[in-house]
Point group: D2
Chain length 268, copies 4
């Protein structure tokens, strides 16, 4: 089967790119399942129920998040009742919402999405490796689940790559988010897991990680609180990776990048 994972949606530019392009890409690429990371969809900070609805309307099956999951307080009751919106699985016990969910496609394929967060240069959540090990142990790849996708939300490339190798052969794909920059290192690991350090944000790249560049840049220079950060408003680029898997094994056959619209070099 074929799945697409789009990275962190940043503000309106990112939402517009996703809403516009996902229906077309689903059709043209023959996608069976679409996941997006929505942690910055609401003006750069968090996500709302309304935005979730808008994304599902456009053909998004599952929304993952990360360190910005809770920026909009209104999402807390929502995430506690809609399992299509995930938060990293390694938040401590008692955290609202879920870190993984099993979905079924119209064609009857079972798809598991796991959202996990790294710790290096980030908040000290629970051990992502043990959390993944526990969750992956629940499924038999290729039988109980045709496809298992891990969104690894993290800062350090070393930790993300370690998680990729850790899951190699047990997940169909380990795809990164959080850096807001697409990496060009998509490949299928020796055990059959597709890996890419980051799929990149969906948003305006004439910016600082999706936010207006002047204000963001001044924070580094002036070391004082400045104006509030807000998303850049130029045309967004949808950034994603498409992974094709073998339904019998659940392992990846290929991974390729998607970049549509906005500033970055477009993929075919």
């Amino acid at each position: 089967m074929k799945i697409m994972f789009c990275g962190d949606i940043v503000g309106r530019a990112g939402r517009d790119a996703v809403v516009k392009e996902v229906p077309r890409l689903r059709r043209e690429l023959g996608l069976d399942f679409v996941v997006v990371n929505g942690e910055n969809a609401a003006a750069g900070f968090g996500i709302t129920a309304k935005i979730c609805a808008e994304l599902h309307e456009a053909g998004v099956d599952c929304i993952t998040t990360g360190n910005h999951a809770w920026d909009q307080r209104e999402i807390i009751p929502y995430i506690a009742q809609d399992k299509r919106l995930l938060r990293p699985i390694n938040f401590p016990p008692g955290t609202p919402g879920w870190g993984a969910n099993l979905f079924q496609t119209p064609r009857g394929q079972k798809v598991v999405v796991i959202n996990v967060m790294c710790r290096l240069f980030m908040d000290a959540l629970d051990d992502p490796f043990r959390a993944l090990d526990a969750e992956l142990s629940k499924y038999a790849l290729g039988r109980g689940a045709q496809l298992i996708l891990v969104d690894v939300h993290g800062e350090a490339t070393s930790e993300k790559q370690s998680i990729g190798h850790f899951c190699d052969g047990r997940a169909s794909a380990v795809l990164g988010s959080h850096s807001h920059v697409p990496t060009a290192d998509g490949w299928v690991l020796p055990g059959g897991t597709a890996y890419q350090t980051d799929v990149g944000m969906c948003g305006d790249y004439d910016s600082v990680i999706g936010m207006k560049k002047e204000v963001a840049m001044q924070r580094f220079i002036r070391k004082m609180p400045g104006e509030r950060l807000s998303p850049a408003e130029g045309e967004g680029t949808l950034c994603a990776a498409v992974v094709e898997t073998d339904d019998r094994t659940g392992l990846a056959k290929s991974i390729r990048p998607v970049r549509v619209g906005g500033r970055l070099a477009q993929t075919a």
Copy 2:
């Protein structure tokens, strides 16, 4: 003119890729100048005089470094007398070596290379923005210098992008290193500066940032000192960006990625 910047060389796999491919790429792409980041060339930690010689022999004009600059103590006297080997410019006054140098190509073009290090999630060096401002003020792009390349060695994508925008119109290219992963966001900023968050390492990508994956992964899992890290020994990928500039203005006409050999998808 045309310049190529290759990211952090990690160990023998990285050195082999550079030594093998740079002569061919110089010729086939018509490169006028080649810069590599060599901070991990010596078994993953630092660089030696012997390796510098080997790289120059292969057609490397300038070597930059970063946080690993000093891992091999023998480099300290060397860096203090050979200005083809740079260390980040924003080390405090009194640090051996130079952070920038002006080179002249055989065709008489003046090329300035500036090496700078970010601070977010890294050591607190001097302000990289003020250091760049001071250095860039010395040259008139297009007249005193036909090309100015900045190697921005950093962890956080936000800081690297801020530095890109800060230099926009004043440097020919701002190209990132340190993450050891190539990004797919190369583009020419509005002011004419080519930018890419990271050009990626030269090394074996079946690894954790170039080091053997088992040992590197265990450090995240076990939280105890383990075996010493050493470079992965599979075939390396040379990762680089090629920037073409207009000699009259010094601004970029294009930027494109180069990935040759090893695990990653190859560029044409």
Copy 3:
């Protein structure tokens, strides 16, 4: 002469302790000069012009700050015109306000107060060592200035102690703030500078660094944004160090702690 430095005032409990005790301590201890760190005076976050007036009214001669200097935006125009309110000297050039000031006591003694911030585990300001070196070079201790006090606002004990030794013999006292806990390591360094890693906060110690303990504790446990932090409201302890110096040399003769009111063991 005799100077007292009180650590970070946290909210009303801290302000009340200072306003109540400083007049009495000035009198009973024969203090010539009183400095307080006020960075958390306004409900835990920053300081206002009104609070500055209240503190000066109570006999405070100089107010220092730290990373919370700018939490209340209204202080920016104020700090730019009243040199009795300092911010760390190693903010980048162009930052409003001053990092050091020379005062004159009623008895004609010249007192220099320097506010500096550390970098380890904190924001990457300019080098505190070079900033101190430059500022200290302006004064001849014992002649141009009878007393030089450095408020070193920092997290890591190693960096604060390094700054103490760096200033040894050039300042009368290097006294720490920011940790909100008094240390018991006050002594006169070999070169004659009184040193204490932290003088402790002025606030309610039945708390988490002055803030209500339940909410503060839950942030570590739940890893989600919770209720807004607000200062604990029990009786505050005034925490300070008193340094006695020799007016001819400007060097310290003694340093002793002051703890009055609230939860902590009281000093005589």
Copy 4:
């Protein structure tokens, strides 16, 4: 009963202070149990079996550690078989050694020592709050255990205080280590737990956290690797806290500081 906890022993100066003073203090203060943190006992880095023997010989009942636990590799087999040497309890499952142990005094009192490590500005171990909750649940304070001591090894005062309040009423004492500076905030929390943010190192205070000051200071100034750090060699101060508890409830009646020898102001 009466227990003494001495903070991080740094090198020979610290060992000498402990070996010299502990026998006398045991006798004069009528101590029932003595715990020391030994993580820097071996030339500043880790601890050896020989040093453990030396400390036990001097009357130390239990040795705790922290982030430096593993600096000397030879300790790994030792810690796996001698439960008088602890390492933080929140290392991941599978880590050699124990994080807590129940001891029995000659008079038959049961003493539990728990060693735990914080995470803020430190490595991302498992959640210290959940680890403490699980361990504390095993004992009934005052019945199953007459005294429970927690060595909280941490950097941030906020996290250490949060752990103090979290254990309030469930442990006899929560005493801090790692900062290498004694704090003056020892008090009995409302629920009956004695608390002190840090008991301070045992070592030479004319230093940077126990290490020779020139080399340590240069690391902050030069930002390059320098000479290897080694312990300062002046006379050490033994820094500790003595807690007296009620054997029936296990709660604290008092806490007071001990500082003997070396540079710091001595306690009576």
